[in-house]
């Protein structure tokens, strides 16, 4: 009997074995069910997983991971599937471990301003649970009404208010992690203070490559006592971009500084999230100031409004009350989801450029869109220089998807040439593998892979993502497990798992 068939036989009972751990109804093997897990929030990528398993507790996750380790089967952790880089997709030879059922908030400690959550807790629900204590969880990705904290940790998620308060990594204090072999480790100190090398920082943003976070200890912040939200409208994209730099140069750090162009404005205004953005504006800036003293924040808001007007804003509106503020933000945060109003297919990009280059880069993106005959809508974290060009297209038109990919590549090249990088918050996943060699050389990529191997020596967790190891032999050069070739446990697992699982 060869190793391959031995694995195949074990794989044949995989679904049954998984069912013994989590209950048969939480194991999905039927094709239609697996198809519903074949995409994330960037639906141009489609990979049908071999088996889907939905554990209901930390112990079940551990048992599942240990079973898969014993069988040498690769797996992919997934939260709500709202990621935007194809990161939470599994192929037919892998098991997708869906963590949505691990959705308990385990503790809220208002005195120390700490919460402990399971990975499937939806971002906005944590803030809702903390609200009675006057606290909230600060990272607020636009998908926060749907995305999970576990996914936020994997992607090191950002969001509008990260301009002032920092991205997910700033707010994660400790993690309990199940490694690829089923070992459970604690990263970070119990009190959240730095403790040895920053392994928490290493894990946050590892895109599911280092294991599964089963408990997440996060920082909570006091809800700001004073808030001002300004909406400035501009008749040109360039002046709006220049105003962004001017605001930052003022020395006042806004809580958030967002930009939306006309195409986005109209999509939102056509939707249930219509916020009253001026449809005739070439772009709007949404600027939020916050702090603990009403007068100080009001004074800052006046200063910023003056700067915006001096830099070409036709008008600056200040949200009259919490309700209007909420509407302005809902419009911004749901803009991505409203893109379906423009066309049936969508690719969203995620790049970061130095703020000062925004006006030029935005114009360059506009030129690329025109050259390719595509609609590109911009809605992004301007204060961070974190661009999100949304390319709308109809995938049924032959050849159009290829043109979209080319245009995406050119946009990325422009951002890199401007001194930027290929992701701000969406991660590399599958979608941006092809751009990695544009910013990292072989040594850097090899180093990244070496770090990954510390956590996952057999590269069984979320295989094929982030570091393009298989694309380029010369820098895949880190020595891996001796049995990577035939005889490797993974070799046998690479069959059609879904077939085996039946």
């Amino acid at each position: 009997m060869t190793a391959g068939t031995a694995t195949a036989e074990r794989g044949g009972s995989l679904a049954a074995a998984l069912g013994e751990i989590v209950g048969a109804r939480h194991v999905r093997t039927a094709l239609p069910e697996r198809v519903t897990f074949a995409r994330d929030g960037l639906p141009t990528h489609r990979h049908v997983p071999g088996v889907v398993v939905l554990p209901g507790s930390r112990d079940e996750v551990v048992a599942v991971v240990r079973l898969l380790a014993a069988l040498g089967v690769p797996f992919v952790p997934r939260g709500a599937g709202t990621g935007l880089s194809g990161g939470a997709l599994a192929d037919d030879d892998a098991v997708l471990i869906v963590l949505t059922r691990l959705n308990r908030i385990l503790a809220i400690d208002p005195v120390n301003r700490i919460a402990v959550v399971e990975p499937g807790v939806v971002n906005v629900r944590l803030s809702a649970a903390a609200a009675p204590h006057g606290l909230y969880y600060s990272p607020d990705p636009s998908s926060q009404t749907a995305c999970t904290i576990g996914g936020n940790v994997a992607e090191n998620a950002g969001g509008p208010h990260c301009l002032k308060y920092g991205v997910t990594a700033t707010h994660v204090l400790g993690l309990e992690v199940v490694l690829a072999d089923g070992q459970v480790v604690e990263l970070g100190s119990p009190g959240g203070e730095p403790w040895g090398p920053d392994l928490v920082g290493l894990f946050v943003g590892s895109e599911g490559n280092f294991g599964i976070a089963t408990r997440i200890r996060v920082r909570l912040l006091p809800v700001p006592r004073a808030i001002r939200t300004l909406l400035a409208d501009f008749s040109a994209l360039r002046t709006a971009g220049e105003a962004v730099s001017a605001v930052i140069a003022s020395g006042i750090v806004p809580a958030a500084l967002e930009m939306m162009d006309q195409s986005c404005i109209n999509a939102v205004e056509d939707s249930v999230y219509a916020a009253g953005y001026p449809r005739d504006a070439a772009a709007v800036l949404l600027v939020e100031l916050d702090g603990c003293r009403e007068e100080a924040v009001a004074a800052d808001a006046d200063t910023i409004a003056g700067i915006l007007r001096a830099h070409g804003a036709r008008g600056v509106l200040s949200a009259a009350d919490a309700k209007q503020r909420e509407r302005l933000w809902q419009g911004r945060k749901k803009a991505f989801g409203a893109m379906g109003r423009l066309s049936r297919d969508l690719v969203v990009q995620d790049a970061v450029v130095p703020r000062s280059t925004l006006p030029d880069v935005l114009e360059a993106i506009g030129r690329i869109a025109t050259a390719y005959g595509l609609t590109v809508s911009n809605v992004f974290h301007a204060g961070d220089g974190n661009l999100h060009p949304n390319i709308s297209f109809d995938g049924r038109v032959p050849g159009l998807k290829a043109r979209v990919d080319q245009a995406s590549g050119e946009i990325m090249a422009v951002c890199i040439a401007a001194g930027g990088t290929i992701t701000g918050e969406h991660g590399i996943g599958l979608d941006k593998l092809r751009y990695m060699p544009l910013i990292f050389d072989g040594d850097a990529l090899a180093a990244m892979r070496a770090v990954r191997l510390v956590f996952d020596p057999l590269e069984r967790v979320n295989p094929g993502k982030v570091v393009p190891i298989h694309a380029c032999r010369e820098w895949s050069g880190v020595r891996t497990h001796p049995g990577r070739e035939p005889g490797d446990p993974r070799a046998g697992a690479r069959g059609e798992l879904s077939e085996l699982a039946r």
């Binding site: 239609p32 519903t36 929030g41 939905l54």
Partner: protein, 423 residues
């Protein structure tokens, strides 16, 4: 009917996932296959033929959709999920027929002759008081609880409402009766509403009259066809729709409905009948009773000293996007405290025949709602749809929560009676 039968309504989905947390079945299972986004994936695959309607994996998750349409008002791209679902269900039904239980229930509840007998027996049983005592979580017990919930009631919960204001003129002095000119409206009676909730029709007629409407009957009307359409029986739904369009004539007299499910269906006739223009004209006349009452204030009644949790039916809130009028209506009752549960906008799990054919999922969806009601302890849970009244009533009874369920219009009616408007 459009060329693609409703599937085109799904085209604008860009997979953002903003619908996930609005979906009661996704919240119950955490499974993408039980989410709007996952089901859209299934429906698209059905349309392209990538998945077959005979595939049990497809049917399982489409059957498990409540059709509450809670995903629609949160969708930034305005995906017409409900229309896509009806198209998909029509394909499933074409392939496998209607499950026997669904067929039997449709016959019993909507069949012209059968239902008259069924409702008569049900009313007798209800009058015996037996269903109230048998209410429980098991299948029979839940059905009994549902039947018990249809009984006419006064006051709320185990506490009798304080009958302040009976015949007392104090509030009326400030709120004179509306002007003597009356507007005619046509009453849509439906099937379950007529069979088990005729007291709600009576309350509808009386409260509308107090607010200056004159109610006219339309004898040739039939069932709205909602249960048929949800079961994938489009042709039957279409036939019923055509009959109703003809029965209600083609002037512009408003058609008043007190069942959210029927109202939502009647407003969809433009997509269903052979002459869409006629269907649209009919749909434009359809008004929920709360809309008509809210338009006239409505006139305040006598105080009712009770706490009422208002639970909007999905087919009122999500399908018809009617949020404010029922609350205005309830606010016309002095003293009464109206509360809203944080999860009020979530489906109760009734969803027409869903509670009968998918009991496990239905109860799982109901559970969180019952838990929050058990904590808030209102005397009355008010909701404007027969299915929701029965589902919530049965759930409250089975869980031993001492609250009664009532249609909002019944509360206004009781308040008006106390004010002496009917004297």
């Amino acid at each position: 009917m459009t060329e693609r039968g409703g599937f085109e309504g799904l085209d604008s989905c860009v997979h953002c996932g903003f619908c996930l947390q609005a979906c009661p079945t996704f919240l119950a299972t955490g499974d993408e296959s039980d989410s709007p986004r996952g089901r859209i994936e299934l429906m698209r695959a059905l349309e392209t033929g990538e998945l077959a309607p005979a595939d049990p994996g497809v049917a399982l998750h489409l059957d498990r959709c409540l059709g509450c349409r809670g995903c629609e008002p949160v969708c930034p791209s305005g995906v017409s999920y409900g229309r896509g679902l009806e198209a998909a269900r029509a394909l499933l039904t074409e392939r496998r027929g209607v499950p026997p239980l669904v067929r039997a229930a449709l016959g019993a509840l909507t069949g012209a002759d059968v239902s008259r007998f069924v409702y008569a027996v049900a009313r007798l049983l209800r009058a015996s008081g037996l269903p109230r005592r048998l209410a429980a979580w098991n299948r029979l017990g839940f059905a009994m609880g549902m039947l018990a919930a249809t009984a006419p009631k006064v006051g709320g919960g185990r506490r009798r409402s304080v009958e302040v204001g009976r015949g007392a003129p104090h509030s009326n002095l400030h709120h004179p009766a509306p002007s003597s000119t009356t507007s005619p409206v046509l009453l849509f009676r439906g099937c379950v509403m007529e069979g088990l909730f005729s007291h709600v029709h009576d309350a509808t007629i009386r409260t509308l009259q107090v607010n200056g409407y004159e109610i006219r009957e339309v004898p040739a009307q039939v069932c709205c066809g909602a249960l048929h359409a949800h079961a994938g029986l489009r042709d039957e739904a279409r036939r019923l729709a055509q009959t109703n369009v003809a029965a209600f004539g083609d002037d512009d007299t408003p058609i008043v409905v007190n069942s959210a499910g029927c109202g939502a269906m009647l407003k969809e006739y433009g997509h269903l009948v052979d002459t869409p223009a006629k269907g649209r004209a009919f749909a434009a006349r359809v008004r929920d009773v709360s809309e008509l009452l809210a338009e006239r204030g409505p006139r305040p009644g006598a105080p009712l000293d009770m706490t009422v949790a208002y639970d909007p039916p999905c087919h009122l809130l999500h399908a018809q996007r009617i949020a404010e009028p029922p609350e205005r209506m309830l606010r016309a009752i002095p003293v009464m405290r109206v509360i809203s549960m944080p999860d009020a906008a979530q489906c109760c799990g009734s969803a027409g025949l869903f509670t009968l054919v998918e009991p496990a999922m239905s109860r799982a969806v109901l559970a969180p709602k019952l838990a929050s009601l058990a904590e808030a302890r209102p005397q009355v849970v008010a909701t404007g749809n027969p299915g929701c009244l029965m589902q919530l009533g049965a759930g409250l009874a089975a869980a031993g929560v001492p609250a009664t369920v009532r249609h909002p219009v019944e509360l206004l009616d009781e308040s008006y009676r106390g004010a002496g408007y009917y004297a």
